[in-house]
Each structure stands twice: as C-alpha cells, then as structure tokens.
Symmetry: C3
Subunit: 347 residues, 3 copies
C-alpha cells in the first residue's frame, strides 16, 4: 500500500525533510532497503548505516536527521512512528467473514456475521464471537466464552469455559487460557484437588505470545488488564492480576495470587513467587527471582552473568564459603583491634 | 448442588458449630461470600476477614472456630475439607457419552460406551479409551495408547504412540506426552539421532498442567507414578521417573534419567540436571538448580532474590571478585599472625 | 528387522569380535537385553553391567571390548554407532501416502503424491509439501509455507504463513514456528505493536522439541541453520540466528537478534539476552545467564547449585553483604599496613 512522505507525515505527526512527494510502499532495514522502502533509525548502534543507506526515505529524530542522505520523516519517537507506518504500509488482511465448512460451532453459540471461524475450529455452547474477530484453524473455544470485536485467535489456541477476552487482542498459537490453577490441599501424604471455580478475564488490546499459559482463578478470576503484552512461554498462575500496559518477556512467570502493577516491565525469565504485590512502574531485569513485594517504582535486578567456566567455578566455590569468609573477616577485625590497642599502649 | 452443614459434616468428617440445618450451595472467599456460600479459613493472613464475613458458613480449625461469627464446620485440615466440599458442591459435569460426529476414530480403536470423544479429536489405531474418559476437542491420541477410566484429556492434548495413562488423571490443554527424548550422538561435528524407542507410563490420579512436556524413554519408559501433580510448562526428559505424590510447580524440569522420589515438592522454576537420584520427601525451593543427588530428606535451596538494581550490581560485581577476596583474606590472616607473633615476642 | 553382526559391522564401520553370524533384532540396555538384542557401552558408569549382560551382542570400544562376555561390534564411537544401528533395526514407519479424508487442504496447495497429510490437518493457500513429508494430525500449516522432502511434522504443530522448513526435519507436537516476535514501541505509557514482517527459515536435518517456539523476524528472517537440534520448551526470539549443528537443551532461549555460532552446546535453562554474538564452538553450562557476546570458543558457566536450605540461606544473606565485606577487607588491609609500618618502625 504505497504512500507519499507528505501523506505519512500528516497522518502520523512527523515533519518532512526533503522531497515530500517521495513514494514508499514497504519498510526495510537501513542496510537492505531499496528505493521503494522506508527505513528508520532509533538505536544509535545502527547510525553508521545511515550514511550508506539506499532507502527511499528514513524515519529519525531531528538530531540524526541532519546526517540523513535521503528524504526523511522527522519526529521525536522514530521507533513508535515506524511501528505505525509499518502497520499502515503492511496492513493485516481483513477477516474472511464466515464459518468454514470444516469448523464445529455449537448451535447456540453466537458468531458475528463479520467474524471468521477457521477450518477445524471448535466453538462451544453459548459462546459469543464479536465483530471481525478471527478464530484460527484448529482453535478450541469452550462454553460460555466471550471473544471481543477485532480480536484474533491464532490456530490451536485453547480458551476454556467462561473465559472473557476483550477487543483488539492478539493471541498466538498454543496459548492456553483458563486451564485449572495448580491448587491442591495436602492430606496425609496425598494431594486433594481444589476445584478451580473462577475464570480468566482479559482486557482490550492485550497480546499473548505462543504457548503461554494463563490459569483460571480458584474462586475469583485471574485478570489481565488492558494493553498488557505477554511474550512466549509465559506462565500466569491462578488469581494473579497483571496491571494495564505491563509487558512480560519470554519465559517469565508469576505464581498464585501475585498482583503486578501497571506499566511494569518484566524481563525474560523473571519469576515471582506467590502472594506478592508489585507496585506500578517497576522494571525487573532479565532472569531475576522476585521473592518480596515491591512498593517503590524503580529497577530491580538479580542474575549473575555467565563467565568462562573455570573462573565461574572458583567464584561459585567461594560463594559456598561466604559465611565462613565472613566469620574470618570478623575475627580478623577483632584480632587487629587487639593488636592496634596493644600497639597504642606501646606508643 | 445445595447441602446442609449436617450433611457436609457427616460426609467429610467435620464437627458442626452452630445451626447444622444451614444450607449452602456454593463456595466463596471470606470477603465475597453471601448467605448461600460456604467459605474457609486456612491461611492466618486472612483471619482478619473472619469477623466481618457474611458467608452462610465457614470451614476452619477449632482454634479459629472460637472467633467465627457464623455457623461453622470444625476440622483439623480446613483447606483439605474445603477442597472436598467445593468439589461436592460444584461437581464437574459428567461425560457426554459418545463419539462426536466430527471426531476421527480409527476403526480398530476401542472406546468405552460411557466415554466422551470431543469434536475434532483423533484416536489412533488399536488405542483403548476407558469408561467415562473424556478426550477433549482437537486432542490427538496416537496408536496403541491406553487411557484409563475417568481420565480427562483437555482439548489439544497430544499423546504419542504407545503412551499409557492411568485412571482419574487430568491432562490440561497443550500437554505433549511421548514426544522423542532429546538424544543425539556426536560424530565428527554432527549429531546422529538416537531413536527413542521407549514410551511413557503415567499412573493413576495424576494431573498435568497446560503445555507441559513429558518425553518418551530412549529404550525403557519414562514413568510418572500415582498421584503426581505437574504444573504448567514443566519439562520431564526421557527416562526420568517421578515418584508417587510428588508435586512440581510451573516451569520446573528434570533432565534425562533423573529419578525423583515420592512426596517431593519441587518449587517453581527448579531444574535438575540428568542422572540424579533424589530421595523421598525432599523439597526444593523456588528456582533452585539441582546438580547433585540428594540422599537426605529435607529442604534444599538456592536462588538469590532480586534487589534494587544498583545494590544488586554491586553484589554481583563483588561476586566475580570472590576468589580474589578470599586470597586477600588469607594473606591478611598470615600477615596478622606475623604481627601478633612479633608482638608476642615484644611483650 | 533382524541383522547379523557381520552385516551391521560392514554397514556401520565396526569390527566384529566373536561370532559374526549372531543375529540381533532389537536394541536394549545392558541390564535388560536378552539373546535377540544388541546393547552398547559408552558411559563408563555402566561398565559394571557388562560382565553380567545377557545381550546377544554389544557395541563398545576396543578397550572395553576386552571385557565383553558376548559377541561384540568394536568401534571408536560406540554411542554414534548404536544410534545408527538402533535406527536400522527399528526404522520409523514410512509415510502412508495420501491426504486423509478429514484433512483440510487449500485448493491451490501443492502436496507431493508420496506425502502423508493426517486427519484434521490444515494446509493453507499456496503451501508446498515435499515428497514423503508427513503432516501430523491436527497440525496447522499456514499460507505460502514450504515443507521439504522427508520432513515430519508431529500432531498439533503450527507453522504460520511463509515459514520455510528444509528436508529431513522432525518437528514435535505443540511447536509454533513463525508467530509474531515480541516487538512493541513505547509511546506515552502505551505499547504500539511493531508488525513482524519477516519470516522463519529452517534448514535441513533440524529437530525441534515439543512446545518450542520460534518467532518470525521483524523485517528480515529468523534463521535456524542445518543440523540444529532444539529440545522442548525452547524460545527463539525474532531475528535470532542459530548456527549449524548447534544444540540447545530444554527451557533454554535466546532473545531478539542474538546470533549463535555453529556447533555450540547450550545447556538446559540457559538464556541469552538480545543482540549478542556468540562465536562457534561455545558451550554454556546448565542454567547460565548470558549477558555478553562471546568471542572465544570454550566453556562458559554460571549457575549456583542448590544446597541444604539453612546453609544456602546463610550464603545468600552474605551475598547481599558482599560489597560491605569488600569494604571491610580493604579497611583491614590499610589498618594492618599501618600496624606493620609502625612495627617496622619499632624494630
């Protein structure tokens, strides 16, 4: 879908530098772009590629714009404008309205006429599928589920009974929403299942990555608020609440009943134990283990970076001796104080 | 399914305090329960909510019972009794016996008349599905598989050829049982696949969380014993044995040929290297890395909790200097001893 | 499929020790093998089982061969030869050529006559399925996908639009290839989706474990080179490149744009942050966190092994004091130098 720079500038709030009649029809990287493509510069790492780019145009900020050898769109947040322009130039295909002849839709399910139900998809009793929603091939939607307008379920997604998904969500393949939470009561060496009677409520504009799992609540609901983005292989346990516009990178997870605030950024592989409260605007760095509630916005860390193995082994061995080292340190302090005292006596 | 406290007490071994004719029909939390609901108090954290609850009744122990403002069921293990009573009041719907017209069942598969085969499910050659078993929508059962009575496979579960699952198991969506173990022989910079010729045997009363993977054995079987509970996104490698009534929380895993004892509790994100033997009654805390066999029951740990990032960075930097710090400590000890010796000589 | 030792020796480059006319028809462990089975000895741990084996034959190296009580195949790499012989004795069943009547294949998809399309599988528009390829039950192949000859997709695999898979690959259940990468631009507290316009290209002889996820590139492709082996629940983010013959064990992952070299060995649970370059022939040990590029082949580590919990807690507490300990150490050194100086003055 080709567009001129003038059109893109007015639509997305940029300033044109150079020939505003330049036409671009797709996006590309600085290094690979040809005349028909628009590229962007947001990460200073790639600044060296600007001088030699053969892109038709570039999106960048005013400072970098001075060095741009090609027509440019100048703005404060080039990556955000790039995201919007890329979506505009490469629109997702609209839903192919209708129910595929190989889908299985319950007689009392309500499917909007503009929705697309793919081959082999299954829609359970009393579920409601909104306008322009897409249910991918082989996806299984249980009973009493609500899928909002413009939401897209990829193939092989599973939504269990009573789950609610808002509007404009994107749910990738293999995602499981609403499986039972992991709740068992110990009783004389055995485990008695605690029935998981709550459900999952997902807000609007949520994206959920491939093979991520979100369990239903025990009595009340697990809640994913508006604008949350979850990456692949994330685990959200029962009764968790993830606050609006929080992002969680791949392989992160939150154990039961933890509440995560709004606009948090959870790095890859970060895990949180259960029953925590994390306030708004917290960032956890890659692979942290969160064992206590956080009441102050800010950045929290904790993982130890890999080193050459023999060096690592020495540090790891000393780690096991840390308490002994601490004792030796204290003993040294006492002995030295004694020595100093005696010396002072001497002097 | 409403019941009186008298009926529940006699069925589940509790003592009634207050009006035994009180009728309850569902479970709820202390904070949200109304007159028709029974709640419970097991975690002292929630004791403050007891005084103001509007529940019809509460399940709790004798000590807490004294403070209960409503009719109560008194017992030693309120959470276990709650689990049973919740299951009784909210029974899972019985299987809808029969094979859905959109299922694909091999001609020589044997499906019990009382079993439910969902839409789009696939049952392979010679497989046997037990009485009252449920095969969810889109689940794929390979050839020569055995699914025991009263076992429920959720939608989109995959059981590969020759897998055996016992009775009363619950397997959540996306679970893969019996995929090939990760076995390759190195040969001049390439990897030769070692065929995985064993299978997986799962006992009775096992529950397996969403998107968990259990690989088939190389020559012999991978074994999950009775009563094991696995959470979501757990990885069980080939030839592993998980002992009866062991629980493994989300994102934990065991590498090849490790044997885990009975009644172990494996925290979220815990991983074990291969070829270990873990005895019965071991608990591993959240995110531990298990690299050695454990021969003594008890609790084992190891993860470092996240801290405010600048504090963490200082500790992490010092960690890399631990061996040097140890050397400096030893040197100090020697020098101080020298000083003390000389001083002694002085005195 | 029975064979004599003479036949196996000539086919797989071994030397026969003992009766070359011995016939074996299956593989088994040293401990469980009967007369009809061939076993192997590669791990010295199992050497004790050699003396008492009742196997029909054993594969081992020349040193161990001296102690073999049964006819033997002598070679340099017994595990690799075992892998080949096991594959020979237990061949995978050939594809059942044809499209199952319960599959949904787009009218303009091109499926080789020798390929097998399982029940409930879905093949999208313009996709091409190679000779003898197998598309498992319920697998969903998008539009414009290429699946090479002899590649096998297990049930419930999802390949999104435009993904390319080479020849002789094995993809296990639940794998998702080509879902959107996790790309969002922050803009005034919200996240704007960056469309993921690249795809995924997978080479020949690649194996991908159950429920592993490989995201499509943002603009260019995510690439998995020839001979790569990925275990279960692995995460490969957008724009990553995994070099030829690299193996990654379960629950490992690489964040966006990281490039992993050839013949690397990535242990279970290892994670790499984004934008790294890892050279060829690097090994990362179990559960390492990789935060920096690696330019030297070798072994890199870092995880701290679990200990008895009270010991661990002491070390972990001291870890938080490491910077303070370091300060105290430096102070001691200064004070002791002072003492030593004064003493020298005295002497």
């Amino acid at each position: 879908m080709p567009a001129t720079l003038n059109e893109l500038a007015s639509r997305f709030g940029c300033r044109v530098q150079g020939d505003g009649a330049t036409v671009v029809s797709r996006v590309a990287t600085l290094a690979s772009a040809g005349k028909d493509a628009i590229s962007f510069l947001a990460n200073p790492l790639y600044r060296v590629e600007l001088a030699t780019t053969r892109a038709g145009a570039v999106i960048l900020d005013a400072a970098a714009g001075k060095d741009s050898p090609v027509p440019s769109l100048i703005c404060d947040n080039p990556y955000a404008r790039f995201a919007e322009i890329a979506t505009y130039l490469h629109p997702a295909p609209p839903p192919a309205a209708g129910i595929h002849r190989d889908a299985s839709v319950a007689a009392d399910a309500v499917v909007a006429a503009s929705a697309e139900i793919g081959p082999r998809a299954v829609i359970g009793a009393r579920s409601r599928i909104g306008e322009r929603a897409v249910i991918g091939a082989g996806a299984v939607v249980g009973a009493d589920v609500v899928v909002g307008a413009d939401t897209r379920l990829a193939p092989l997604v599973s939504l269990r009974d009573s789950v609610t998904v808002g509007q404009r969500c994107i749910i990738h393949p293999g995602v499981v929403v609403g499986a039972d939470g992991f709740g068992f009561a110990q009783d004389r060496g055995r485990w008695i299942k605690v029935p998981q009677l709550g459900s999952v409520v997902i807000g609007d504009d949520v994206e959920i990555g491939a093979n991520t799992t979100i369990d239903r609540g025990t009595i009340e609901n697990t809640v994913i608020e508006d604008g949350v983005k979850l990456d692949n292989l994330v685990q959200i346990a029962h009764n968790v609440r993830v606050g609006a516009h929080t992002v969680m990178a791949a392989m992160s997870g939150a154990a039961g009943s933890t509440r995560i605030g709004q606009r948090c950024m959870v790095g890859g592989g970060v895990v949180m134990v259960g029953h925590l409260t994390i306030c708004d605007d917290v960032m956890f760095t890659f692979r942290s283990v969160v064992t206590q509630s956080v009441a102050e916005p800010g950045t929290y860390g904790g993982s130890l970076p890999a080193e050459e193995a023999s060096k690592w082994r020495r540090s790891a061995a000393r780690f096991r001796q840390l308490d002994a080292m601490h004792r030796r340190l204290r003993e040294l302090e006492e002995r030295l104080q004694e020595v100093e005292g005696k010396k002072s006596g001497h002097d």
